[in-house]
């Protein structure tokens, strides 16, 4: 709570009226930076084959574990593969899996949570207890168990993560829809005669979507880290596919050849930061209190 400030001043003070550009930069500067980072990585992911002369899987044991040099800007790993190339190609996997997992989980979770909140009664109980069930388990361990059962591979890991990821969206959607369902515009829609499905999908969910969008952007970073972690633990991608988590795993014992593990780590850091900044910015943008009017 802001403390009450003594408000009398004997001098007629006029606060500066800032220009639109200044205000915008102050509020959304960080979010724009985040968006820029993400866009840069997306471009990199798309253009990866064109950016370096090397192939990510090209093994050359004669140049293994070379430090940074003009030929290999970020050095080489234990099999002589160019770290920079693998980093840029790894972006494809990491970004894709992160975004896909979160988007699909959000869609499924929102739908289930929304239905639970609007229908109430037994359906609500059923769905919410299901989310409780999944949330009982530490997420990485559960994902690990499912992935291990399904077998190694990107798709299987994505499935495992989806199972673990949807409940938090369901929970959030549930609480948001509960607030909306007692609003008068929902009653008005009922009075007009719309069906419950239509009201939920066309009227309520668009009003509840704000915090969900924020959670999605913030969560992509989490998903990328989790996927990297699963790859680090031996699940996830099939070698030799380049992926940041498995690259960190390969380099974890190479202390003097620090470049093998460090650069993938920095890549993860920048992407996650980018999504966090963007997410914060979107949340501020959606917050009615900070809006211009």
């Amino acid at each position: 709570m802001t403390a009450l400030v003594d408000s009398h001043s004997t001098v007629l003070a006029v606060a500066p009226v800032r220009s639109r550009g200044q205000r915008w930069r102050r509020r959304y500067g960080l979010a724009a930076a985040g968006a820029a980072i993400i866009l840069a990585w997306i471009l990199i992911a798309l253009l990866a084959p064109l950016l370096t002369p090397y192939h990510p899987d090209a093994v050359d044991v004669t140049v293994r574990l070379q430090p940074l040099s003009p030929a290999h800007w970020l050095g080489t790993d234990a099999l002589g593969r160019d770290v920079l190339t693998r980093l840029l190609h790894g972006a494809r996997i990491s970004l894709t899996t992160g975004i896909v997992v979160v988007l699909v989980a959000a869609a499924v979770g929102t739908l289930l949570g929304g239905i639970a909140a609007y229908a109430g009664g037994r359906i609500e109980e059923l769905i919410m207890r299901l989310t409780d069930l999944v949330l009982c388990f530490p997420p990485i361990i559960l994902a690990l168990a499912i992935a291990a059962a399904l077998g190694i591979g990107t798709t299987n890991t994505i499935i495992a993560m989806l199972v673990v990821w949807w409940p938090k969206f369901a929970r959030l959607a549930h609480s948001l829809v509960i607030v909306q369902r007692s609003q008068e515009y929902v009653e008005a829609a009922m009075v007009i005669g719309f069906s419950p499905a239509r009201i939920l999908l066309r009227h309520i969910i668009p009003n509840a979507v704000g915090p969900l969008i924020v959670l999605v952007t913030l969560d992509v970073g989490n998903a990328i880290i989790t996927f990297a972690g699963l790859s680090f633990l031996g699940l996830g991608v099939v070698p030799p596919t380049p992926e940041w988590g498995s690259m960190v795993a390969e380099g974890r014992e190479l202390v003097s050849q620090w470049w093998v593990a460090t650069f993938p780590g920095i890549a993860i850091l920048t992407v996650v930061l980018g999504f966090n900044f963007l997410g914060d910015g979107i949340r501020d943008w959606l917050d009615p209190k900070s809006r211009r009017r």
Binding site: T2, L4, V5, D6, S7, H8, S9, T10, L12, A13, V14, A15, V17, R18, R23, Q183, E184, Y185, E187, A188, A189, M190, V191, I192, G193, F194, S195, H203, P206, N207, R292, R293
Partner: protein
């Protein structure tokens, strides 16, 4: 700054509060908002001053400035405030802390949020007293119990250990008043203290304020938008508009003979409970809205809307005396003019007027001045009473549109423990109701009486637990959603909260167009657009509004959009659930007029739910009074107010404040004791018996049936008509 002698100022004693040329401004990114722009007034010891104005007039900011309770981005930038002769604006923080809650106390509007929810009442009351150093802990506790009792709380020794959430709104306001009065303040500032409360509770709190003023000699500054409230408590009144004082004088004089057009508009826009309105029932309204505070007009700030405007009004008027003890900021009245009563046709435009002195009459025209063009066909024309009756006779008046029998709706509460008995809220407990085609039935009652639940059950948002609802010959009480869907075209609803009843993510075009397409009234996009535009002009909005979102409109405009949505499907019957409660007085009048016009134009039938009895009297043909889930009285509008049969109705009528000082002073204020009983465990027999002055043994045993006493006049009371404290209804005092 004027030096006229004010009634109430003794001239010898220093005024308790003296405000001179106060200026408070908000420094926002869009510019500087001059919320309070040179306000001056003074309050003598023991005097009660009222400050009246609508939202945006600056009255609340003035009150907060008095105690320097403002935060950034607002700042007091000029002027002088003296409390008991000492400078307030220059005081250091310690002096201010001593002042606040000590000799100057304040009570705010919303009792639900004024108290700290995690602390017991005792702690909050005692803290106030101990911090100001007047009492020790034990003394403070004793005094707190006494203060609570003085404020009308039952069993204060027990109540004091409760938490705020265990109290109702009225009781919380009493606690807040007790806190305010606990250090014997010289001045009590009350900012809309009763706005959030029911009428009978409001009456209790106002009586309390009168007593405090009388018995303790505390000076009171009462801020309100309700002239009736001010008339009942305050000897003098200050009217504010767009950050300035526009009129000042004794309440009696200002209300009977206003000298500023804005005051005049406020007085004439308010329906009165003690007056029978003429045939066409239109209220006087002024089009438009207060000026944008970022862009105030150069001349008189009311001029763009003023029906008495003259050429000189392009020059900003000063606040000068227009009569002994009365000031007004108006060129017309300063030159000696008086403001006449409006003609019967009453939508007024800000048109100029040729002459100056003498009686100024407002120019009445069919078009409004606001930037949104009005539908010329919607111009009001007075319809004689016979013609109105003819209209309804043609439409088959007497034909029952809605017949409700024995309607019951209960809500089970979540159980407290596995073995606890499940508690049930008896929201609607056996209601009978009839609505004939073409008439307006008013439904009144206070919080908890079940009127909102009843509305939602009638429109089948909820399914009733028992009883029948026969709408146009079909019983829809137990019909399925699919069976009811086609009926949705014939009955619609207008909701209370203009901010929540429109989907914030949809454009107006979608909000109104979707029902049209859903019910097959418009097939193509072009047809939809056309009909939406037509509907918008019918309710007085520009067709360009269709592309905008709800948040771009004001409360009154949003209600118009709501009405347009309800009209879209061409219903016969509209249930209006408190459609104007959230709006300012002038806007309320505009919406009432709009609804009356639409009723004439389309032959609508209304069920109008409200807690404001004056409005209900004005707009309804028949009135139904609800109490705790049951109907207690049904009668034609005039009859109900002149010869109420049920004691509760009598209390309800007596509690409504009338904006006329003479009437307020003379009328007998019947005080309804206590709080409404809980709907979870209603009293046996007659539900009103716990607060009824004439309750007898039979009232606890046998629930009184709703019996017809005279033609069309029903009452549910074993002793209907026996409670006659003042020998008559609302009119007694007026003719007395």
């Amino acid at each position: 700054m004027n030096v006229a002698v004010k009634p109430g100022a003794t001239g010898l004693a220093t005024p308790v509060l003296e405000v001179r040329n106060l200026k408070t401004q908000f420094f926002t990114d869009e510019g500087v908002v001059r919320a309070v722009d040179g306000v001056s007034f003074s309050v003598a010891a023991g005097e009660a001053l009222g400050i009246v104005g609508e939202s945006g007039s600056g009255k609340s900011v003035t009150a907060l400035s008095l105690m320097r309770l403002l935060e950034e981005p607002s700042r007091i930038v000029g002027g002088d405030i003296r409390f008991q002769g000492r400078d307030v604006l220059g005081a250091d923080p310690e002096e201010m802390r001593n002042l606040r809650g000590g000799r100057m106390a304040m009570v705010f509007q919303d009792p639900m949020t004024s108290l700290n929810p995690v602390l017991r009442i005792a702690r909050q009351l005692v803290e106030t007293m101990v911090v100001h150093g007047n009492y020790t802990g034990d003394q403070a506790t004793d005094r707190a119990v006494k203060m609570l009792g003085r404020m009308g709380i039952n069993a204060p020794e027990r109540a004091i250990h409760s938490y705020p959430h265990q109290f109702s709104g009225g009781m919380r306001q009493r606690v807040v008043l007790a806190m305010g009065m606990s250090n014997d303040p010289v001045l009590l500032i009350a900012d809309e203290p009763t706005t959030a409360l029911d009428v009978t509770i409001q009456a209790q709190i106002l009586e309390l304020l009168r007593e405090l003023n009388r018995d303790f000699g505390t000076a009171i500054v009462l801020i309100s938008h309700d002239l009736g409230v001010i008339a009942g408590v305050c000897a003098r009144v200050v009217v504010m508009y767009a950050g300035e004082v526009v009129e000042e004088g004794s309440t009696e004089e200002v209300l009977s003979d206003p000298r500023h057009p804005y005051t005049w508009a406020l007085i004439n826009a308010v329906p009165r409970i003690d007056r029978h309105t003429p045939g066409n029932r239109r209220l006087t309204t002024i089009e438009g809205a207060p000026p944008d505070p970022l862009d105030l007009p150069q001349g008189c700030r009311f001029a763009p809307r003023c029906p008495f405007r003259i050429e000189r009004c392009t020059e900003h008027p000063e606040l000068l005396a227009v009569a002994p003890g009365r000031d007004a900021r108006c060129w017309v009245t300063q030159a000696g003019g008086r403001l006449a009563l409006p003609p019967s046709s009453s939508r007024l435009r800000g048109e100029g007027l040729g002459g100056e002195a003498g009686e100024a009459s407002p120019q009445a025209e069919g078009e409004g001045l606001s930037t949104l063009a009005l539908d010329p066909e919607a111009a009001p024309h007075p319809v004689a009473p016979e013609a109105r009756a003819g209209l309804s006779r043609q439409a088959g008046k007497g034909e029952r549109l809605l017949e409700v029998r024995g309607l019951v709706k209960h809500f089970p509460l979540p159980k407290n423990g596995f073995f606890q008995k499940r508690l049930i809220v008896h929201a609607v407990d056996g209601v009978d109701l009839d609505v004939a085609r073409g008439e307006t039935v008013g439904l009144v009652g206070e919080s908890g009486c079940g009127k909102s639940t009843l509305a939602r059950v009638l429109i089948r948002i909820h399914k009733p637990d028992a009883g029948s609802i026969v709408f146009e010959g079909e019983d829809i009480a137990r019909a399925s959603a699919a069976e009811i869907r086609p009926l949705r075209k014939r009955m619609q609803m207008v909701f209370q909260d203009p901010y929540a009843s429109l989907n914030p993510r949809m454009t107006v075009a979608d909000i109104i167009g979707e029902p049209l397409r859903f019910h097959g009234l418009a097939a193509t996009a072009a047809e939809t657009r056309e009909q939406v535009a037509e509907l918008l002009s019918t309710v007085g909005l520009s067709p360009k509004a269709a592309q905008r979102y709800p948040h771009e409109f004001s409360g009154g405009q949003r209600q118009r959009i709501s009405i347009a949505r309800a009209l879209a499907v061409r219903p016969d019957f509209i249930i209006a659930d408190e459609p104007i409660s959230a709006l300012d007085v002038n806007i309320q009048a505009q919406i009432i007029n709009l609804m009356l016009e639409l009723q004439e134009k389309f032959g609508l039938t209304y069920l109008f739910i409200a807690h404001d009895l004056a409005v209900v009297r004005h707009i309804s043909d028949r009135i139904v009074v609800l109490y705790l889930g049951k109907v207690v009285e049904v009668a034609r509008s005039g009859v109900l107010f002149e010869r109420p049969l049920h004691p509760y109705t009598r209390y309800l009528i007596s509690a409504v404040p009338v904006p006329d000082v003479v009437v307020e002073r003379r009328r007998q204020h019947l005080q309804l004791k206590g709080e409404p009983p809980s709907a979870v465990d209603p009293p046996s027999g007659c539900r009103f018996r716990t607060r009824c002055p004439i309750a007898r043994a039979v009232c606890a045993e046998v629930p009184p049936p709703l019996a017809e006493h005279q033609g069309g006049h029903f009452a549910a009371c074993h002793f209907a008509g026996e409670f006659q404290p003042d020998g008559g209804g609302a009119h007694a005092a007026r003719h007395g």
